[in-house]
């Protein structure tokens, strides 16, 4: 059985021309299996966000192909894109900038219902769906209706983003640093909800993160990216506990730990 849900072959993204040319993503290959949680880990500038945008269809790859459920992805028209986006959705890093501040919260959720094709449902049915989605993330629809995003806290906003995913039930969720702007205590709540979503909907989750600890905690498979290239990949235990590539090793050794000693003597001052 071929259970690869998303596959990238020689995926490349180049920005600019000539002297200003930067290769953000450089011939990247990967296969993501249905139902797994996988993480793409990299520092800023590693191209992980560009890769995520290409997977989402928000950016066109310069070179290479993306295969979705075994078939070459085709998002050449708005209709095909809409069809694709029913299957792949995202949660972004900064909940404060992910909302249109001029729209009420209801608009966001109603958009999802429309996208499911339930535009013609009666009003009561829609409210029922929205309430269900809100209660999934421990929010009360009655308290949220007719409110604007800025009336919510960061944690609530991010939970509402998960409610949106709950309504859409895509096959793949790309979570771009979903917890980096959120306090440590709320982080667990968000992660719990994402995991619950995966179990209930059978979703594949791709985490994009710089936090190697988080990647290790949540994922089955880990990809390490350095300057546009995937330098190491494998199961989480394999990559984190027995890293092979020097970059992975450095990355892990640079993160402060609490059980093992954090060796500061390895620090070499280099560059300007």
């Amino acid at each position: 059985m071929n259970d690869t849900v998303l596959q990238g072959v020689n995926l490349t993204k180049v920005f600019g021309w000539g002297k200003q040319k930067t290769i953000a993503v450089d011939h990247v290959n990967f296969e993501i299996r249905a139902g797994e949680v996988c993480s793409i880990v990299g520092e800023s500038g590693s191209g992980k966000t560009t890769l995520a945008k290409m997977l989402l269809g928000l950016l066109n790859p310069t070179e290479g192909e993306i295969y979705f459920q075994g078939k070459k992805r085709d998002i050449s028209t708005q209709r095909k894109k809409r069809e694709y986006w029913k299957n792949i959705q995202a949660i972004f890093q900064d909940p404060y900038s992910a909302y249109n501040i001029f729209n009420k919260i209801d608009t966001l959720l109603l958009d999802c219902i429309r996208m499911r094709g339930d535009f013609w449902l009666p009003r009561e049915k829609k409210i029922e769906l929205m309430s269900e989605a809100c209660s999934f993330v421990n929010l009360e629809y009655k308290e949220l209706t007719n409110k604007y995003p800025f009336e919510l806290s960061g944690g609530q906003m991010q939970r509402l983003m998960i409610a949106r995913i709950f309504l859409l039930k895509p096959k793949i969720l790309i979570a771009d640093e979903p917890t980096s702007m959120i306090d440590a205590c709320s982080r667990a709540t968000i992660l719990d909800m994402l995991m619950k979503l995966r179990d209930e909907v059978g979703m594949t989750i791709i985490f994009i993160t710089h936090d190697i600890g988080l990647a290790y905690y949540v994922s089955d498979t880990v990809y390490i990216m350095e300057r546009g290239k995937i330098v190491e990949s494998g199961s989480a235990d394999q990559v984190i506990l027995t890293p092979h590539h020097p970059y992975t090793r450095r990355l892990i050794s640079d993160v402060p730990k609490i059980h093992e000693a954090w060796d500061l003597s390895t620090v070499t001052y280099s560059g300007l």
């Binding site: 928000l58 708005q78 986006w85 995202a90 890093q93 900038s97 992910a98 249109n100 958009d111 999802c112």
Partner: protein, 416 residues
């Protein structure tokens, strides 16, 4: 929305600008209701009548007089014709005529006049005196005639049959006419211009027309700039390149030069106020387009736009719902600036004589143009140009003040 408005009206700068602007607007709207005259009607025969209350002399003679015995009436009458300067000039003449200095007392009016009457000779040539000075003394001499007379003036009418003048009435020096009883009184607070038109009425109309020109020009410029900026910024790629090519092309050519050329080629008789406004609008959108594009570029990659795309919204929907509201405050500010610079551009063009044709409506620029052609500034006829300048300054000042106020509300970093 309401919250934003409340914030805006809490800004002192905005409120000041707003109050000035609304006051001007109200004057422009209400004044024509009170004074329904044609603003371009020529009422004065002659140029540049100074500001003041104009009382019809014929009517004043005909109203029944009141006798008021005011003690300083004579003094005032004399002082009007014989001020300290005139007295000094007379002394100079008398000295030159060979009168010893101790005999001349310029404070004693009767004695001075007596001395003057005896010694003044219009044909006398004093060494070093210019022709102008001679004329001046002749005029002075004429105005002094009968200054100390105490009897009244006789009004006479020709008899219908004989043609003989017959005395109708005598106007005593102590006769007063009540201005309320004089049927024809015209207040000209700002006098008349070179054509003899009431400057205030003209100015109010001109301010209205100039504001219209500003609004039309500003709206056109902002609309073009907004649409092009949104398309270039959001669509990017080819569309961006083409739009930016034209924008940069227009930036290189100073827009005022372009404005002059277009205005000139249209021809005087085809240039109406709205035509000029349209031309100004079509030449001044470039900076708005560039600024909007820059804003959109930074908004385009925001997560809420990405989220909207992922929700399957169309490009038009995203531009209208996810981009436009975010830059609306900016666009309003750009519009205000465009309006005020539109007004200035019209003034600039008109001063050069390339403004709207002169026969239909006045504009602030045209008024400046007329004042300049008839040398109001050289002749010291300040009422022909200073109020126009002040109006232009007030309009642009109030708009820029509103703009700064808005900027401080929308950009908290600029708050004091």
């Amino acid at each position: 929305m309401i919250h934003t408005l409340r914030q805006v009206f809490r800004s002192g700068k905005f409120v000041t600008g707003f109050v000035i602007f609304v006051s001007l607007l109200l004057i422009v709207l209400i004044y024509p209701l009170l004074v329904p005259d044609d603003p371009l009607a020529i009422i004065g025969l002659g140029t540049f009548f100074p500001p003041g209350i104009y009382v019809n002399v014929y009517d004043s003679v005909n109203v029944s007089p009141y006798t008021l015995n005011l003690p300083d009436a004579t003094t005032k009458r004399i002082a009007d014709k014989l001020g300290p300067k005139e007295r000094q000039d007379m002394k100079e003449f008398l000295l030159a005529a060979g009168i010893p200095e101790e005999e001349i007392d310029i404070e004693d009016t009767a004695k001075l006049l007596d001395l003057w009457e005896k010694n003044y000779d219009p044909n006398k040539n004093i060494e070093g005196m210019t022709l102008a000075k001679m004329r001046y003394y002749q005029r002075l001499n004429n105005s002094l005639k009968g200054l100390l007379a105490t009897e009244g003036l006789i009004v006479a009418l020709p008899n219908a049959q004989t043609g003989q003048l017959e005395q109708v009435k005598v106007i005593e020096q102590s006769d007063y006419a009540n201005i309320n009883e004089v049927p024809n009184v015209r207040v000209l607070p700002l006098g008349t211009d070179n054509f003899g038109r009431d400057v205030l009425t003209e100015l109010v109309k001109a301010a209205g027309v100039s504001l219209q020109i500003g609004f039309v020009a500003g709206l056109i410029a902002t609309l073009i700039g907004l649409v092009l900026g949104l398309l270039a910024g959001y669509l990017g790629g080819m569309v961006d390149d083409i739009i930016m090519f034209f924008t940069n092309l227009l930036i290189v050519i100073p827009s005022f030069v372009l404005l002059i050329l277009i205005s000139f080629s249209i021809g005087q008789d085809k240039r109406g106020a709205i035509t000029i406004a349209t031309v100004i609008g079509f030449t001044s959108w470039v900076w708005t387009a560039r600024a909007v594009r820059a804003q959109v570029l930074s908004l385009r990659n925001r997560d809420h736009v990405n989220l909207s795309r992922l929700s399957g919204h169309s490009t038009v929907y995203i531009i209208l719902n996810d981009i436009l509201p975010y830059i609306m405050s900016y666009v309003v500010m750009a519009l205000i600036l465009q309006i005020s610079s539109g007004i200035l551009a019209e003034a600039g063009l008109s001063i050069l004589g390339l403004g709207p044709r002169t026969t239909e409506v006045p504009t602030l620029g045209l008024m400046m143009n007329w004042a300049m052609i008839y040398q109001a500034h050289v002749l010291g006829k300040w009422w022909a140009y200073l109020p126009v300048l002040v109006t232009i300054a007030l309009i642009t000042f109030s708009m820029n003040l509103m703009n700064t106020g808005l900027d401080q509300v929308f950009n908290p970093a600029l708050r004091e």
